[in-house]
């Protein structure tokens, strides 16, 4: 579904990620783990058209989407949920969800699926987003992306700024989506959360992919156990 090869990107000519390659197959949940500053956000922003890349290719559903602007990529069915969420703060929850389906007509069935997944949003449809808690905003960011019935959901650090229980709840919701067949790519520095959720993963360090494998393989790797899982 998504295939990234030899991909480099950064800011003002200084690459932050170097020659990165990975793939996500339909129906998979794939994680990219790494510490703060490893280049996860840069990689995702460039891949999703918010930042230009300096080399490499991004294939989505077999089509070359390298260098397309974010708004085109979003319409192709690859939805990015940024760690900063980028919701519309002076609009209501409902308006944010409706815009998620833009330019299409919001599908009532999808809306009820989203509200069933996040009952907190259903209680707050008329509330302005700027007044909501971080956890609710994260639910809304995911919900807004789901409104377009994406083929691939790309999440950057969905646990950012959330209390442990809320981060857990977010991943539980993602788990439900996965079971329903949604393909998910997630970047996460809280590695245990991502591991409980993903089929496969890649380890990004200083802008390079150092390791890859199934979640079991990565969880058994001594280097990862000490660096990311706190096991010595």
């Amino acid at each position: 579904m998504l295939e990234v090869t030899g991909f480099s990107a950064g800011y003002q000519g200084n690459d932050v990620v170097h020659e990165v390659a990975f793939r996500v197959d339909p129906g998979e949940a794939v994680m990219i783990i790494g510490s703060n500053g490893a280049g996860k956000t840069t990689l995702f922003r460039a891949m999703c058209g918010l930042l230009s890349s300096s080399s490499g290719k991004v294939l989505f559903g077999g089509d070359d989407i390298t260098g397309l602007p974010a708004e085109r990529i979003a319409r192709l069915g690859m939805r990015f949920v940024s760690a900063e969420r980028h919701l519309f703060p002076r609009m209501t929850v409902q308006e944010n969800l409706l815009l998620g389906a833009y330019p299409g007509r919001p599908d009532p069935e999808t809306m009820s699926v989203v509200l069933e997944l996040f009952p907190r949003l259903a209680e707050r449809l008329r509330q302005h987003v700027g007044t909501m808690s971080g956890g609710e905003q994260q639910m809304l960011a995911v919900g807004r992306a789901l409104m377009s019935k994406p083929q691939l959901l790309v999440l950057d650090e969905p646990s950012t700024g959330l209390a442990p229980l809320l981060a857990q709840a977010t991943y539980e919701a993602l788990g439900v989506l996965r079971q329903r067949g949604l393909t998910v790519l997630v970047a996460e520095q809280q590695v245990p959360l991502a591991m409980a959720f993903s089929d496969r993963g890649y380890v990004l360090e200083n802008g390079f992919i150092r390791l890859q494998g199934t979640t079991e393989e990565l969880a058994a790797n001594p280097g990862i156990r000490s660096a990311y899982l706190g096991v010595t």
Partner: protein
Amino acid sequence: MIANILDGIVLGLQFGLLATGLTLVYGLGGVLNLAYGQMAVTSAMMVAFAMDAGIPALPAVGIGLLAGGLLGLFLDQTILRPVYRLHDEPRVLLSLLLTLGVSFIVDGFLIWRYPLKALTLHIGGGAVEILGVPMRRGSLVASAITLITFVALFLFFQRTTLGRAVRSVIEDEEGARLVGIYPDRMLRLILVLSGVLAALVAITRSMVTPVNTTSGLSITVFALIVTVVGGLGNVAGALLAGIILGIVSVVAADLIGSYISLIILLGAAAVTILIRPAGLLGVKE
């Protein structure tokens, strides 16, 4: 006093609509259009020429509104192209300089070729008494059109998908892109809308007082002042600020003299920047 306040509201509604066109373009695209008043005047002149050619008033007004929209589209397709490649402060500055240049050219041309041309739309019938004050019918028709336009604008922005998409770009451009909204298309739409609004203000204004070829600069200045007081990208703020400043302007002109009212308006804008930098209804970012 009641007469002053009513006159102030008539003027203020037009101030509000005027500022709406300017503030939306700025809030959405970081483009400050200093040729805004010239767009208004050029559209008004199109109405005057159309009527000179024997076209009845109503279709002539239609031509004027169309001209306003086309002027907005023209700016978007030509002179603003290099502006779109810049971001943040350089973008505002370049848009300001380029549109200022456009305003000089348009003003120069109009004053050279049509120094005495003016648009006056006569609305027949006698005065109508409101709260014991006789109001000219032209003022009432102008205010009614302005109010209806505001209602239409609010419905558009609050109730339609396209209107929400425009607001989303003002609130968070990156968020808008992530849901598949093209910010450049929204800006083009709003530039066309702003041209139509500029034309509409000039046309309704001509029902109250003549609009002539030299009115452009003062229209831009009024729009800027109201925009600053109302807050950027905020239609409700523009309406509120317009009405307040309209009343202030008329009362000040009556009590002290019309020379002072512009100074008072500028003072109001300066005080607003000091106390509430985001405008009356502005939200801190």
